[in-house]
Amino acid sequence: MNNLHTKSKMGGSLRAGCGILLFILLFILIGRLLTPYDHLSQNLAEALESPSRSHWLGTDHYGRDIFTRLIYGGQLTWIIAIFATLIAIVIGTLVGLFTAWWGGWFDLIVMRLVDVALAFPRIFIVLLVIGLGGSSIELLIWLLALFSWMETARIVRAEVSTHKNFAYVKAARASGLGTNRILFRHIFPNIAGPVIVSAILLITNIILVESSLSFLGLGVQPPFASWGTILNEGKIDPLGNWWISVPAGVCILVTVAGFNLIGDGLRDLFDPYRLN
């Protein structure tokens, strides 16, 4: 019966995604050891220098080293994306779990409110709030999270509505287990796959929305950098000063691709029928 013990193998896409994100993560965490420059200090004498041995990715209009700004910008982009996604996933999962479990009027009212919230284009509401109230990193994280949990809530609700009628949940209820234990220890592990895929889609989406906002000048404010801000700085002459915006664009692209590969791989890994 030793063969009953299970082992899971990592899929190719999961390995590729982990590899890519590990590389990006190393770049933004320990990349600063490779550069002698500060990401905020200006040196107008070296403004708009193309890539060279002293500035590997060139400099911007204020003479700031692009490689250094990419490292610090990446840190901010990741922090905003991870925290906003975590908050959105926690809210969405809790709303989905309890609306499906309790059902009835509570479910009807909450899910109609979710439909209403989904009907509004998220980026415009965020733009409006930031336009009226100003921008800060904390506000950006909360705004992105508070307008992103609805899809997760719908996915979780749909999954729990199915699972709560499965015999294993009925057996758990009949055994006398409490609602929280059934929801978090029995049902949630079975719906973790869709939640993780949803989180991955969300994190990529939030990276893109944050980059768009920063590109429009409403996200991370100068002199601080995010990848979107760096893209914005390169828009004055994108062909002439390509070294400003291309590396930031590549970072966004590669990070989003890495998360998508991980989401795909995790979905396969969490499929219970692959446990053997």
């Binding site: 009953l4 758990a172 006398g176 053997n276």
Partner: protein, 258 residues
Amino acid sequence: MANFQGPILDVHNLCVEYSTGSVNLFSRKRKSAVKNISFQIQTGECFAVFGESGCGKSSIINAILAFVPVTKGLIQFENQNLLHLFSSVPRWIRPQIQPVFQDFHQALNPRRQIGSLFKEIRSIYPDRPDSAELLNRVGLHCDVLHAYPHQLSGGQKQRVGLARALSTNPKMLLLDEPVTSQDLSIAAQILGLLKTLQKERKLTFLLVSHNFSILRLLADQVAIMKDGGFLEINTPGQLIANPQHDYTESILKQSGIR
């Protein structure tokens, strides 16, 4: 409650309705699944409900376990009303009534090893029997504790389901088509096991099935159910020898009993 006298389960005028969709935001279409049924089960007895698929048999089990809201009626377990406290079965009664389900593929959590299911139940009821002992009792080796449900055969899963139901030391088992999805030899083994367990532990059964041959082996009383209501209740022998209703006669003929 050990020396409880009288019917262990008393169901009186039970009605169950399901919502089948919205008419508008404030009202919903409803379908009656169980209509005014009444029956009593004595301790150690096997009461069976026989009827075609969709006649409302499983709704009775779901109503007793409070998985569906009861529209009207009374369900008493050892003289205690089960239909209060927000339609949930009182917590101290739950371990005493345990279900065994028809769909053994769904009856075990696919993401948890068998051992963890028993461990969890023992964490709530520490004085309950040991999991290895229970598995041995239903004819399984304790190595199964390390297995995931998808690594077991249908018969093994049904036995695990039975062991899980026994793990709370219940007085009553609600058997919802317990062997319908099994092949004949496995079904015979499980029925034999149920019979032995009933004698050993003085268990009371509420058995629901659309197979009269299975009911005949276990049941003391059989209720014939049609369109949500009981047509007649009698012993299996009397039903076969002297059916009181045309429907009973026709359904027994269809089952090849008469």
